[in-house]
Every structure is written in C-alpha cells, then in structure tokens.
C-alpha cells in the first residue's frame, strides 16, 4: 500500500507543483525514489521530529501548498496529537497525515509501533477526515481523494504486500460512501484496511453454506456514511463488522450506535481488536488471532447463529 501511495503522489506531483511531502525519517524508500529524484526540494525529511513535522505542514498548507506528512501510523497519530488537533483541526488546515502500518502491521516490533486506537482518538477531533483503504488499488483512489479534500485528513495505510481485493469491486471508490465490493442477500460484512481480506475468507466459508454475502469497504471512517450503514442493516439479516482497531471508538462501536438509533432488526456481530495491549510477536495474523480475529473464529460465531436457527 505504501508503494501505491508513493506512485500516486509522484504522478500528482508531476502535474501539481504545489504537492510536497514531509517525512519524519520514515519513507517508502524505493517507491519514493522517483519523487525524490525529480523533486528533491519537495521531499523534506525533518528527522525524528513528528511534532514539528505536523506544525510545519500546517504552516506550508497555510501558504497554499498541498502537503502530505508521512511516518509510521503510531508516531503520526500519537506523538504529534496536539499539533494535529490545534494546528490542523482547530484551524481546519488541509494537510494529509499518512500513517503507514496502521493497526498491528508492524507485528514484530511490539506495542509501541501499533496503532490500534488511532481511529478512535483522531475521530474525536472536529474537522478531521479519516480514510483507511483496504488494498493497493483503493490506496490509489484514496490518495487522489486526499489531494482534493479541503480538510485535515488521516490516511491510514497498511504496509506492504497487501493483496488486491477491489479489482472486481461492484462500485468505484467514492469518498464518504460505503463501497460494495460484492453483493449478497443474507450476510453483510463491513470492514476496512488490510484485514478486509479476512472478510473475503469468511464470505467464502459462508457461501459454502449457501449464504450470499455482501462485502463492503468502509474506507471513509469519518465522515461515516450513516445512511449507507442504515440501509445495509435493513437489507441483511446478519451484519458483521471486522476491523483491525480497538473495540473502543472504532467502526464496530459506531455501527452499534447507528443500529440502536436506527432501530435495526438484524443481528449485529462485531470483531475488533481487544481493548488490551497484547505482548505477542509474529505475523499480523498472529496478533489478530491473539485478539480473537481469525477466519475460523469469526465463521464459527456467525454459523452458530444459523445453527441456533435465528432468523
């Protein structure tokens, strides 16, 4: 996903001389090379200084530049939180803060490198926009959207090697709207970010049970497409949320709130990271599993509801 981001940024920079990127000693190195070679003065490494990265980006954007700040998600969201709040959101300055390795993508590096509650804390900020694409293709569309938005944006990316999930999507990426990747009549899975691949695995198993499944990429977490979610709650008997984010303040919590307010009749099951720091290392899947997020666990819970004969 970081390579997809870097490629689009380079393309954008070629036609728009106001595109700049400010990094805090983290960069999608190889894929960023063309940008750095062609526009060395528009790639700024401030060093290990995230607060100044965000403050500087605010000042640059106030002068009309189109600026992207880039570093590891945990360092992009937490260390300079007050700069994001005061310099970007309070003043409503259009800077895109790119967090690479959202969730637990840095799965061997421990909790200091995990962003498992980034969406919760950044969603709480007025004026903030949050986008979390699910694959490299959607990352391209999301990056384009970021370059056009007039608000601060947090672009939450995975890292590298994510599979393509949206090549056969039913709908194109549209900022602020749910995106149906496939459509069914029984179960609807709402997801975002790289863990969306688990939604496809779960759907595959359900399809073997003769259930038809919708899969939706909820790439825009703020502003959330509430009416779209209300519609999916109406049109499916089971709605599932799978997310690589804490159960506190992520998509699951919001969908529950929308379901309650909208008096939804469907069964709603949510699968999020636990509200816990789990000291475990391995592949992202190993950490997901430790949080109860695996295809088997999720499928078992959903199929149990069918075995119990609900609806």
């Amino acid at each position: 996903m970081r390579d997809a981001f870097a490629k689009v940024l380079y393309q954008l920079a070629r036609s728009n001389p106001k595109i700049f990127i400010v990094v805090a000693d983290i960069s999608p190195a190889a894929s960023m090379a063309p940008f750095q070679e062609e526009f060395p003065n528009r790639f700024i490494n401030v060093g290990v200084a995230e607060q100044s990265m965000i403050g500087m980006c605010a000042g640059m954007a106030m002068r009309g530049l189109k600026v992207f700040a880039y570093t590891i998600a945990a360092f992009a969201a937490y260390r300079p939180f007050e700069q994001i709040r005061d310099d970007l959101c309070y003043q409503n300055i259009p800077v895109t803060v790119v967090g690479v390795g959202g969730g637990v993508a840095y799965s061997t590096l421990g909790g200091t490198h995990h962003a498992q509650e980034d969406i919760a804390v950044l969603s709480a900020l007025p004026n903030m926009t949050i986008i979390a694409p699910c694959d490299p293709l959607e990352t391209k569309a999301a990056t384009l959207a970021c370059s056009q938005l007039k608000t601060p944006v947090y672009l939450r990316l995975g890292k590298s090697g994510e599979p393509i999930l949206t090549a056969g999507a039913l709908e194109p990426f549209k900022f602020g709207k749910l995106r149906y990747l496939q459509k069914g009549n029984d179960v609807c899975i709402l997801s975002y970010g790289p863990i969306t691949k688990m939604a496809f695995e779960v759907a595959g198993k359900l399809e073997q049970m003769q259930r038809t499944v919708s899969i939706i990429s909820v790439h825009t977490l703020k502003p959330l497409d509430k009416s779209g979610i209300i519609e999916t709650l109406k049109t499916h008997s089971r709605v599932i949320v799978i997310e690589e984010h804490s159960e506190q303040g992520g998509l699951a919590a919001q969908v529950k709130q929308i379901a309650w307010e909208g008096e939804a009749n469907c069964l709603l099951l949510t699968f999020s990271l636990k509200d816990k720091f789990i000291h475990i290392y391995g592949f992202p899947q190993d950490i997901w599993k430790a949080h109860g997020l695996s295809c088997d666990d999720i499928f078992r819970k959903i199929s149990t509801t069918y075995l119990r004969g609900r609806m």
Partner: protein, 270 residues
C-alpha cells in the same frame, strides 16, 4: 502610518490593556506588557505593508506565546485592523476576541495558546515562501518559558537545514513562567544565546524594551540561516507593582490598583 513615537504608543497600549482588564476578572496583563515594545516594533517598523490605513502586510507575524494576545490586540487596534468595539467586547459572547489569538480573526495568522506550536508553523510558512519564490518574512515572538517545549528544540534543529533566512524569531525573555522564574526552574537554560548559536542560527541579544535595538537586531541578515533575537524583558514592564512578580501572570488589578498604574504610566515609561 500613524504619527506617534513607539514609546508613546506603548504607554497608550498599556493604559488600554489596563482599561480592558477592568471589565474582566483575570487577564494575562504582565506577559503582554513584557512584549509590547517587541510587537509594536514588528508591526510599526519591521513588517512591510502597502501603506494604506488599515495596512495590508506583506510580511507575517505570529505570536507563539498566545497568552500575550492583549499586546497583539492593542497594536492591531492602533493600526485600524481590529476595531475598538471588538476590543471592548473582549472575551464576551458578542465579540470575536478571546484570551488567545485565533486564526481567522483579522490580523491573526495562527491560533496559538498551547505553547511550542508557533515555531514549527512559522518555519513551515517561511519554508513555503522560499519554495514558492515569494519575498516575505515571517516574524515570530515566543517566550523563554515556552522554549521548554520539545517541539521548539525540534524546530530549532530543523530550521537552519532549510536555509530559512526569512524567519525572524524574537524571544521575549522575561524569565518568568507560571509558578516561578524560568532560571530557577531550569538554571542551565541560561544563557540562551550560546545554545541557539550552537544550533546554527544567527543570534543576537538586545534590550527588549528598546525599540531601536530590537529593530536594528532583527534587520541583521544571517546568511541562509534563521535569526533569533533574544530580547531581555521585564514581565509586567511599566507598572512597578506588576513587574517581576509571578502573581501578575494572570490577574487584573483592583480599581485602586488600576488608578495607581495609570498614574505611573502617565508619568512616562520608566
């Protein structure tokens, strides 16, 4: 622009601030008094403008020590950028002006109040101006107490790398923070000058209540480097009982105190 000497203007500003303070229980008077000559010099002497009244400035000023807002408001009032009525409505629901500068208010280029935010923003602006080939200077006032924030040191390290010789930082060194003297809490912070020089900035020390010295120092051009002017000031300057006293960081005088202060100011700035 306005035919008035800096010294006379600063007496008027102090009286105006005291007058405003009568309506409100608590205001940051003393931190405004310490940087009045600096802010007056920036607006009336240093920043380039179109010559109209109210002027349109080519250069930019940011008050990073946002709690000195009163000083900026009264100077903006003297320039006709903020109307008298707006200052009279200070900190009320019918007005636009609060206790700290807010972006979007005429003359205010950044929302400050939380310390350590101004320098990175000013650095970004100065860098952008250079990148866009715009001849514009960015003036920033921060306080010595504010310099305890880590973001200030980050930006002090970064700024010389970017060749921003259009960035002029003036430090209001009044040696006070909320609870005590800065030099008592962090004795190793002083002298500041050596540390800034070691970071690769052009740096000079001046009397922060002497307008000509401030202007002279700030006009020095450091080659391809940002400039920091360490302006030695007195917190509460101009009213003897407010000077160098922590309690006047956030307090308004009584009616009697007000009369006493006005009398002293009418006697001329010491």
């Amino acid at each position: 622009m306005v035919d008035d000497t800096g010294k006379q203007r600063c007496i008027k500003y102090r009286k105006r601030i005291l007058q405003l303070s009568l309506k409100l229980g608590a205001l940051h008077i003393a931190p405004a008094f310490s940087c009045l000559e600096i802010i007056d010099a920036i607006y009336h002497k240093l920043m380039r403008h179109d010559g109209n009244f109210p002027p349109e400035f080519l250069d930019t000023f940011i008050l990073s020590k946002g709690h000195g807002a009163l000083a900026q408001y009264v100077v903006l009032e003297s320039l006709g950028i903020l109307p008298e009525s707006e200052l009279n409505n200070l900190c009320t629901p019918t007005g636009k002006l609060g206790g700290h500068p807010d972006y979007g208010v005429p003359g205010i280029e950044a929302s400050t109040g939380s310390l350590g935010h101004g320098l990175p923003i000013a650095l970004g602006m100065a860098f952008a101006d250079k990148a866009l080939g715009i001849d514009r200077k960015v003036y920033l006032v921060m306080s010595d107490g504010e310099m305890q924030e880590g973001s200030v040191w980050e930006s002090m390290l970064i700024a010389p790398n970017l060749g921003v010789d259009n960035l002029m930082v003036i430090v209001d060194q009044n040696d006070f923070q909320v609870l005590d003297r800065v030099s008592k809490i962090n004795p190793n912070f002083y002298p500041i000058l050596d540390k800034i020089r070691a970071f690769g900035w052009g740096v000079v020390e001046v009397d922060g209540h002497h307008s000509e010295s401030i202007c002279h120092a700030t006009r020095l051009k450091a080659i391809q480097r940002p400039l920091m002017v360490i302006a030695k000031t007195v917190k509460g300057k101009g009213v003897s009982f407010m000077e160098n006293s922590s309690i006047w960081n956030f307090r308004s005088p009584s009616r009697e105190g007000y009369e006493l202060a006005i009398k002293e100011l009418d006697g001329g700035l010491k």
